[in-house]
Symmetry: C2
Subunit: 235 residues, 2 copies
């Protein structure tokens, strides 16, 4: 019998944006004694920011990242014992394009209760703010790094966007953002396709702008090393 619960705890996307996490979520986060986190130091910092009086030392952490695979055996132990367990990533909501989803998959597989909490997702916020058709959309993660696959991927996304009237959403490693913009301006149709560029979502210096490719070509932004989301849609 699995009486434990897995809580998916969102954290801010940008430093100091604690206000983007609902108060009730911050309270719940600080009440949990078992945590899977991407980075223990970051997790402690967030919990302290949520509530300065949180008893950090009474919490047991297990790291889940590229160096440490999700300790699914430990998760099952904790859940089967009836514990309330938290999952936290480095930024935003766990379970969306991060190592946390393996834990959620395991929890679901053993029939444990899974409770996701409301928090900031740059993918979702940029889709809202893009003005694109929210009826149908697709997130594809990173594009191929090299040609010819890269150019083909860009053109395929545009074709699908137009054929399906479906927003296509993708990301890039931040130090390659400007190069990506060059590629998009080069390969996408200048007047028939719109591009939304969302940068530092929820931060004070957030950029969230939709223009045609022709308009972007005339004024390419410098977003070197800034976390960004890219969305395309028929104009």
């Amino acid at each position: 019998m699995n009486s434990g619960t897995l809580y998916l705890i969102p954290v801010p996307l940008a430093a100091d944006q604690i206000n983007t996490i609902p108060e009730a979520v911050r309270k719940q986060a600080c009440s949990l004694k078992y945590y899977f986190v991407e980075n223990i130091r970051t997790a402690r910092r967030f919990l302290k920011a949520f509530d300065t009086s949180v008893d950090i030392d009474s919490i047991t952490f297990s790291e889940v990242n590229k160096q440490n695979q999700a300790d699914v055996k430990l998760l099952k132990e904790w859940l089967k014992a009836g514990n309330e367990v938290g999952v936290m990533s480095e930024a935003g909501c766990p379970g969306i394009a991060d190592p946390g989803s393996d834990l959620v998959t395991a929890a679901q597989a053993i029939g444990s209760k899974v409770v996701p909490f409301v928090g900031p997702s740059s993918i979702f916020l940029s889709l809202m703010g893009s003005g694109f058709n929210g009826q149908s959309f697709r997130f594809v993660g990173y594009l191929p790094v090299k040609d010819p696959q890269r150019t083909k991927a860009i053109k395929d996304l545009e074709r699908i966007a137009h054929q399906q009237n479906e927003t296509q959403i993708f990301i890039e490693t931040p130090y390659r953002n400007n190069a990506l913009i060059e590629d998009l301006v080069k390969h996408l149709q200048p007047h028939k396709t719109k591009l939304c560029i969302a940068v530092d979502v929820t931060a004070p210096d957030q950029i969230l702008v939709t223009k045609t490719l022709a308009e972007w070509a005339a004024a390419k932004p410098d977003i070197h090393k800034r976390p960004a989301i890219f969305l395309i849609h028929p104009a």
Copy 2:
């Protein structure tokens, strides 16, 4: 010069779940004097729930729904005059599968600032909680109502999910939920595909469960008339 700002204000998905809206968002929502809303009565109720002291009578509302197209001319007037304008839908986040996106499109087109706020999205929360691959996902809205298009759509979604390793997300009119589950059990592969059913997301009676189609076939849930999200992915 467009000095106005369009704020995208989320509201709860389920009655009384005000705690799912960050405090800072509730404050901002109650400070705005110009609003586009799906339903004026619902909007007033939410604003009063956000802050009982809100001065409702000083707010100008414009309705946007199936009966009333978005008054884009009015939006442009308000924004060009430098006002802070809010958009609110009946539930969840505006700009995702609702009439609000036309307003966002218009605001972007005239170069106004658009600021989406953090709030509950059943699509997003169910994706987090499904345990499916969050690296790549697609939301397609409603499936065709009749056969043969309906069965074809269901099989196409499964094929795409497997070929692309991509979560496919869709919705149904709530009074047809149980019939949809029957169709999914009938047409999807019993052991090679998993289905997540998310019902009344954020409510106390929330269901968010992932199982193989074979497991669902053995114990079909009765979710008649309850708001739900459906997600499929390779097992």
